[in-house]
């Protein structure tokens, strides 16, 4: 066969190569075939100390080897968390060895058995030169009985081990959260992980120690799960009062309020006015104590909504959407810096970047700032996003909505077609014909049911009449830009390394 000259040649990208950075400027679709940098200073990803490995930040701010994050990401992507007996079941030995070879070359392929991924994560811990918990003496571990003792013991870990441990604990907590699918309860996951956390020569001692470590793990996982349960966002209720639009006499700027009621905190995201502020208050059941601009009413039944919509979330999601728009946040450090920039709020370019979406209220004092930071840190985006996909939320909402209102389909313009993707214009048209109550309901629907924040946000923007000539202040992401702010970016934000995933999903090849 004769091969002719190439025709219709186009310049697509300028790619450079150097031996430190590898390929630069490589189109993402070609990236798969090219091995990444070797994930550690040595030629192996296993049995190597953390210090010599390339690390990235996970969603909780732990610096852990990138290769672990990749394995975790693939595991989550493939729905590994819902597979029965994940982390318990041994993978096929040959397949695991094949995957191990690839991982050592810095590649984590897509079509691998989830058990292999889980097995390699365990193997990675097992083969560390020094066990993650080896710096704790067996006696110390043995003397741990209460949860508090366990927590204080864990704090004694050196930083790199502590980060690894925290990553592993969160991984295990993620597994336990899917217990109804994978049958891995706290004890089960602790049993299979515990022996990989320590190294001992004497088998009998190792066994005894493994039991102690298992108890330790159980306590810490339980605590993590409790913290997640109690944390600000997931268990909070959103109160929103739509009747306030333009009710401020002269001021016709849309001013709406998102209220989050939590045991210790009240979060307020006041929308449209360009202010976000978070205040500490006692439990705000008495809603008269809320901001004088609003008369937000407590809605019955919200307390049993395990929904996660809140001001903070809206705020964080605005950060997320920013990330999506920029499309550049590939590695963990960039990701975290974006989040931090939103925390900082009052300075420099970062501030400017977010300013047309949100501003941090300038009159918030130090304690508020500290509080906000605490909240943002205690509830990283990843949890929010992951929580969002919990089926229970949806079921609960449906149950709740049927019980309370039994509203017709028309009341929920967003529900049609099982998707919130409709153009902004369409949305606006629909809203224009609705009275304020219906509007509110559809917003509530969007907030509680649909995972897309932008819908809710743009609803709010459009909630009130604007004076002629007044520039609309609002969220950048519009309805039209919705698709990126969906599951894909959820993954991306949760797993900062998944740039390639995003690409593949867009193209339907994954």
């Amino acid at each position: 066969m004769e091969i002719g000259f190439p025709s219709s040649v186009r310049h697509i990208a300028h790619v450079t190569f150097d031996r430190f950075q590898g390929f630069l400027g490589l189109p993402v679709e070609l990236e798969l075939e090219v091995p990444r940098r070797v994930p550690s200073a040595s030629t192996s990803a296993f049995g190597v100390s953390v210090e010599s490995m390339q690390c990235s930040f996970d969603a909780y701010g732990n610096s852990v080897p990138t290769i672990l994050l990749l394995l975790q990401e693939r595991l989550y992507e493939q729905g590994g968390l819902k597979i029965e007996g994940i982390f318990r079941i041994n993978p096929d030995n040959d397949k695991e060895e094949q995957l191990r070879d690839k991982v050592n070359k810095g590649i984590v392929p897509y079509d691998v058995d989830a058990h292999c991924l889980a097995g390699l994560i365990k193997a990675w811990f097992r083969e560390l030169p020094k066990g993650v918990l080896d710096s704790l003496s067996p006696e110390e571990v043995m003397q741990c009985h209460t949860d508090d003792q366990c927590i204080s013991l864990i704090k004694k870990l050196p930083p790199s081990e502590a980060a690894l441990f925290d990553w592993a604990i969160n991984l295990m907590a993620d597994v336990v959260q899917e217990e109804s699918y994978n049958k891995m309860n706290v004890r089960n996951i602790a049993v299979v992980f515990a022996p990989n956390m320590t190294q001992m020569m004497d088998p009998l001692m190792a066994l005894k120690h493994a039991v102690q470590v298992m108890n330790l793990l159980t306590s810490v996982i339980c605590k993590t799960l409790n913290d997640r349960e109690r944390s600000v966002i997931p268990s909070s209720a959103v109160l929103w009062d739509g009747s306030l639009t333009g009710s401020e006499g002269e001021e016709s700027r849309p001013a709406k309020m998102l209220e989050v009621v939590h045991s210790n905190l009240t979060l307020r995201a006041q929308m449209g006015t360009g202010h976000v502020y978070i205040e500490a208050e006692g439990r705000c059941n008495d809603l008269n104590t809320l901001n004088s601009r609003t008369s937000a009413r407590a809605r019955e039944g919200y307390n049993d909504l395990n929904s996660i919509k809140s001001g903070t979330r809206a705020k964080e999601l605005s950060v997320e959407s920013e990330i999506v728009e920029e499309g550049g946040s590939i590695d963990g450090s960039e990701y975290s810096s974006s989040v931090h920039s939103s925390e900082r709020g009052n300075g420099g370019d970062d501030h400017k970047r977010f300013s047309d979406a949100w501003e941090t209220s300038s009159d918030s004092d130090m304690t508020d700032n500290a509080l906000e930071q605490k909240i943002v840190k205690s509830q990283p985006l990843a949890i929010l996003l992951r929580k969002r996909w919990k089926p229970i939320t949806r079921n609960k909402f449906e149950e709740f909505s049927q019980r309370k209102w039994s509203l017709s389909e028309e009341s929920y313009p967003l529900k049609k077609g099982n998707s919130a993707i409709c153009s902004e214009k369409q949305c606006n048209e629909k809203i224009a014909h609705m009275n304020i109550q219906d509007r509110q309901k559809s917003l509530e629907y969007a907030l509680h049911h649909k995972p897309w924040p932008a819908i809710a946000l743009s609803f709010m923007e459009n909630g009130g009449p604007l004076k002629k000539g007044e520039k609309m202040k609002g969220m950048k992401p519009s309805c039209e830009g919705l698709s990126p702010i969906s599951e894909l970016s959820a993954y991306r934000a949760a797993h900062p390394l998944s740039k390639r995933t995003l690409y593949l999903k867009h193209n339907g090849t994954a």
Partner: protein, 206 residues
């Protein structure tokens, strides 16, 4: 049992196989005829069962090992002196079947001290017939290739559970070289830590 030895033979049996194939469930079914959702085994567990076969009183110590890879170095020390080894796989998961030849038989070869020790291949979970991926023929072929006994069973429905232990024990009884040191003189068979446990056991049943 007022007079004479408590048992005629004491056998050490071992259950090995991948994690989650149902080793502990099998043993639980055999010793106490119950079935439960069990946690993964930590290290090694062991249970005693007295049975009478061919008029002989037999005491079986069945060692249930953890399938978790981390425990392999630990569990390998329990192969020593076993007269019977039960290799368990899950008929609904092919990996557990292939890993038997890839991993577990090699472990047996490496660590077992009884040359003639009887191996028994057991395909568990046949109650899940819909999900079955390893056929009975494959099991038979495997057993023939590696010289094992073969049975398919279900710890859940108790199908063949008793039988699998019985067949194994009968085969052991037929192998004279394995019967050495199995009579009631307990020395040589059980070691320090276990001896006390064992004597307690015997005193309680006498």
């Amino acid at each position: 049992m007022a007079s004479g030895p408590e048992f005629d033979h004491l056998f050490k049996l071992l259950l090995i196989g991948d994690s989650g194939v149902g080793k502990s469930s099998l043993l639980l079914r055999f010793t106490s005829d119950t079935f439960d959702d069990l946690s993964p085994t930590i290290g090694v567990d062991f249970k005693l069962k007295l049975m009478t076969l061919r008029g002989k009183k037999l005491k079986l110590t069945v060692w249930d090992t953890a399938g978790q890879e981390r425990f392999r170095t630990l569990t390998s020390s329990y192969y020593r002196g076993a007269q019977g080894i039960i290799l368990v796989y899950d008929v609904t998961r092919r990996d557990t079947f292939t890993n038997l030849s890839d991993i577990w038989l090699k472990e047996v070869e490496m660590h077992s001290t009884n040359q003639d020790c009887i191996k028994m291949l057991v395909g568990n979970k046949v109650d899940k017939d819909q999900e079955r991926v390893v056929t009975k023929q494959e099991g038979i072929a495997f057993a023939r290739q590696y010289g094992c006994l073969f049975l398919e069973c279900s710890a859940k429905t108790r199908l063949n559970v008793e039988k699998c232990f019985e067949e194994l024990v009968l085969k052991i009884l037929d192998t004279p070289s394995l019967l050495r040191d199995t009579t009631s003189t307990r020395k040589n068979i059980l070691h320090t830590g276990l001896q006390s446990e064992n004597s307690q056991e015997s005193s309680s049943c006498c």
